[in-house]
């Protein structure tokens, strides 16, 4: 039973962490290397909330706001001039990631810090004692995915965004301001990354490199799922299950490598990954 819970919660964490990256990749066609730094921004937003003595739940909106502002500023100042040069834009996100990391180090120092967790302790689920917070993350992952699906498929913004994802030139010729779509989606992607950072704080430490361990999993998930929310859910479950099973039955060192290796194998066999080719 707890094995099943391990798999589902691990998949949920992977999903939450990769969601922001998926949005950016879907719309802009670039993998943002600043994703890890945006997770870190969310972690520090949670830290500031703790310092201010607010309710730990306030770290979630605070992280969204911080991510939105940072993402919008980055898009406006650095990425916008690089639209036609995607490779340079990827390098630019890498540089931005380093800059954010250093700014955080200067402001908060290198050391590990502690933000309060909104929920702690264990609950009994179907006869197994399990971490309440991990269970909560499953609910959060489903809610986030549902909200984004609703926005993409039920609003005008979503329609326009899907048009840009499908064919940017065609959408432009139909009068869609694709620059604004890119701006909105990079901001939203950054906000989601930052929110994920605040969400993993109770499992993680808050330090200037806190985003790094989550990066590989997020990259692999997005590579496997193209720009599909459903494909990413499938990929998260498969990779999460593989990681948990290998860690449990073989050993944890191999488990840590499983996500990257399995993703590479899947891409070799089926280049479209879990997305419908």
């Amino acid at each position: 039973m707890s094995l099943l819970l391990d798999i589902v919660t691990t998949a949920a964490i992977l999903y939450v962490v990769a969601l922001g990256l998926l949005i950016v990749f879907g719309v802009m066609g670039i993998i943002s290397f600043a994703h890890g730094a945006m997770l870190t921004v969310g972690g520090y937003a949670a830290l500031l909330v703790t310092w201010a003595g607010w309710n730990p739940w306030a770290s979630l909106p605070a992280a969204v706001l911080a991510g939105l502002l940072a993402g919008a500023a980055m898009e406006w100042a650095v990425l916008r001039p690089l639209y036609r040069r995607p490779l340079d834009a990827i390098l630019a996100t890498w540089g931005l990631g380093i800059v954010i990391g250093q700014v955080i180090t200067l402001a908060f120092g290198r050391q590990v810090q502690f933000a309060q967790s909104p929920l702690s302790g264990a609950a009994t689920v179907l006869g197994a004692t399990y971490s309440q917070y991990r269970l909560l993350l499953v609910v959060v992952a489903v809610l986030l995915a549902g909200t984004i699906a609703l926005v993409l498929h039920g609003t005008r913004l979503g329609l326009v965004t899907r048009a840009v994802i499908a064919n940017e030139n065609l959408a432009q010729s139909l009068g869609v301001n694709s620059a604004r779509v890119r701006f909105a989606s990079f901001g939203l992607g950054s906000a989601l990354a930052s929110l994920a950072g605040a969400l993993v704080v109770p499992l993680s430490s808050v330090d200037p490199n806190m985003g790094v361990p989550w990066l590989v999993g997020a990259f692999m998930l997005v590579l496997l799922s193209g720009s599909s929310l459903v494909a990413m859910a499938a990929a998260a479950l498969v990779l999460g299950a593989a990681q948990v099973l290998v860690s449990t039955y073989l050993n944890a060192v191999l488990g840590g490598m499983t996500v990257a290796v399995l993703a590479a194998v899947i891409l070799r066999v089926r280049p479209a990954g879990f997305a419908r080719a």
């Binding site: 391990d6 050391q111 702690s120 264990a122 971490s131 361990p213 860690s247 050993n251 060192v253 840590g256």
Partner: protein, 382 residues
């Protein structure tokens, strides 16, 4: 003419006295960046205090001490550069520093080539031997026994689960723990390792739950892995006694309620109740005031090592390497951790404390073991 001559005389006098006063240079290769960057600044502070105190009292044999601090990046490649520049370019008289095991191992060949005395002030996995190296911090034989004995006797623990980071220190500490537990009637029901930068302990925690041990022993790298593991086993509702071999007092304090109740073993806590420790803490506060970093089990040995070196130079009447290395085993110093003498195969018997982290973040000392022997560390070293 007379005036000129007297100026010349004055100058040469000045030169002579400057020569007599030429400083004794202490090289400190240390991880100011990388994994050790969290603790390294506190170690440098301790070294600065020792040097300032000694210089204020007239130095060593009338010569002042100076510190040359070099960043080793906490790793092997950086350590080679740092040792190389300190030994061959700056030509320091001695190396005194806390470093990672990787950095120490990379630096030792340079120490041998440069024939420079080296006092290693970091607790480590043990059995590192070099004729120029002395160690004034603990090894597993000294640190682990108090925790394991306490769990076996006071807590009635029979089965243990060991979790560590996958590197020299983590593996070394836990292989000793396993051997010690099994030699004293306990049973190890599982031991698991993760890479140093790992942050997800899900599967290992599930294994702990299904093995349901009476106690947990953790020996991860300091900082991130220690914190993530502590948070995650807490959230999973694991409540058996936990001995954390890799956490320092400062981190335990900042972890707050997650660390409450955890057992730690150390040769130094700020709460050590001795006049020498009180004097030391007051001097640290006076020198660094608001910038003071909590003195700890890695910074205090650094402070004491500088005094041990001073005593050795005075006994050998100079900084020549043979005299100093001979004297280092003979001299002792009464520091914040008590009397320290590196006379056991270049390691030091130490008073060890078993502590438990309290809800307010302080460490309560439960047991004190006087002068615990480091055991056979370097039996083949002359």
């Amino acid at each position: 003419m007379l005036k000129l001559a007297s100026t010349a005389l004055g100058l040469s006098l000045l030169a002579v006295s400057a020569h007599a006063q030429s400083p004794i240079r202490i090289g400190v290769p240390i991880g100011l960046s990388g994994a050790n960057s969290v603790v390294a600044p506190s170690v440098v502070q301790a070294a600065e205090l020792a040097v300032a105190e000694i210089n204020a009292k007239g130095g060593v044999l009338g010569r002042p001490l100076t510190l040359d601090v070099a960043d080793d990046g906490s790793g092997a490649a950086g350590a080679q550069r740092a040792f190389d520049s300190l030994v061959f370019q700056k030509k320091v008289d001695v190396l005194i520093s806390m470093e990672t095991s990787a950095a120490r191992n990379a630096g030792l060949p340079i120490v041998t080539r440069g024939k420079t005395p080296f006092i290693y002030t970091s607790s480590y996995e043990g059995h590192s031997c070099n004729r120029y190296m002395f160690v004034d911090a603990w090894v597993p034989e000294q640190q682990e026994a108090p925790v394991i004995d306490y769990f076996l006797k006071e807590k009635g623990a029979k089965t243990f689960f060991l979790i560590g980071s996958d590197y020299a220190f983590g593996r070394g500490m836990l292989s000793y723990a396993k051997q010690y537990i099994e030699a004293h009637g306990g049973k190890v029901v599982g031991d698991e390792y993760q890479p140093m930068d790992a942050g997800d302990w899900t599967a290992i925690i599930s294994k702990v739950r299904s093995a349901s041990p009476d106690a947990l022993i953790l020996s991860t790298a300091g900082g991130v892995p220690n914190v993530t593991l502590t948070k995650q086993y807490r959230a999973a509702g694991i409540t058996v006694p936990v001995g954390n071999l890799g956490v320092d007092e400062g981190t335990a304090k900042t972890m707050g309620e997650d660390a409450t109740g955890v057992y730690v073993s150390s040769s130094y806590f700020t709460s050590v109740d001795s006049p020498a420790n009180k004097t030391f803490l007051a001097a640290m506060r006076a020198k660094f005031s608001d910038g003071l970093l909590t003195p700890n089990d890695l910074s205090v040995p650094q402070y004491e090592a500088i005094y041990l070196y001073k005593a050795a130079v005075e006994r050998a009447d100079g900084t020549a390497v043979d005299g100093v290395t001979k004297a280092l085993a003979e001299v002792s110093f009464d520091g914040p951790r008590g009397r320290i003498q590196m006379n056991k195969q270049r390691h030091a018997p130490l008073t060890m404390y078993l502590g438990q982290v309290q809800p307010d973040g302080s460490v309560k000392i439960l047991q004190t073991a006087k002068d615990v022997d480091p055991g056979e560390q370097c039996p083949n070293l002359k």
